[in-house]
């Protein structure tokens, strides 16, 4: 019971892992490319949660100014914004070409 009530880094890591798994399932099983992109955002968020949780753990060992995890999380968010923009640009380009948003119908290079 104390494990459940006393929130530690482990709780945040398990939550991050669960979100990561949900994102992976979304990427691997959905056909709609917008939903695949949103699942990628879920994955990146899970990673961020891990980073910030570990930053707090690191703070408890190395003093209050050891915020490397949070800075890394900020860079990941910046990166996710850039990648979402380019990904959606690609989506618009291929929707204009093929009139479909399903990833498994973009198979012109298959034998």
């Amino acid at each position: 019971m104390n494990t459940l009530l006393h929130i530690s880094t482990l709780h945040y890591l398990v939550l991050g892992a669960a979100l990561f798994l949900l994102g992976i399932i979304g990427v691997l099983t959905r056909r709609n490319v917008v939903i695949v992109l949103m699942s990628i955002e879920l994955i990146l968020n899970a990673v961020n949660l891990n980073l910030v949780a570990f930053s707090r753990y690191w703070q408890s060992i190395h003093g209050a100014s050891a915020l490397h995890g949070q800075v890394f999380a900020i860079f990941v968010i910046t990166d996710a914004a850039a990648e979402a923009a380019v990904g959606l640009g690609i989506l618009i380009a291929f929707f204009r070409n093929k009139e479909t948003v399903n990833v498994d119908e973009v198979n012109l290079l298959k034998w």
Partner: protein
Amino acid sequence: MNPPVATAFFFYLLAATMIIGGILVITRKNAVHSALALITALLAQAALYLMLYAPFVAGVQIILYAGGIMVLFLFVIMLISIERNMKERQFNKQWLVGIVAAAALGALFVTVYTKTSRGVSLFIEGRMSYGESQNTQMIANLLFDRRAGMYMFAFEIASLLLLVAIIGAVVMAKKRI
């Protein structure tokens, strides 16, 4: 020391919101519903960052992720008409392989998290200084300070990355290059 119960309550509430939001994202037919579920998950994540005493990351998450990226997603969903897509099959042919792979990854995570390495536990002791009042200033020190900062180069590269992404997105979405 008795941990405050309110922290556990809010953690489980936010965690449940995030997990339910995540499940709704990957299962909804309507992409707008998925986007709204993702927004809920992102806002709950910002609140979790606040619980982890990372207010600056929480602010950045709300401004950039929920207020920027998701608006972009919603605009694109509305630009491409996907009503036709809602009547088609939603999950692709390899959904079983996908779930098996995710389950294998989940088993790996469980193994890693239940075996503590050499008795080091991941529990934070309760005697930390819960300093929130200088969080932005300390992050600014790490990023910009001449002597103590080590992420200035990464910051400049990130701005270059954003420039490349802007140009890339504009070129990809143009009708005639």
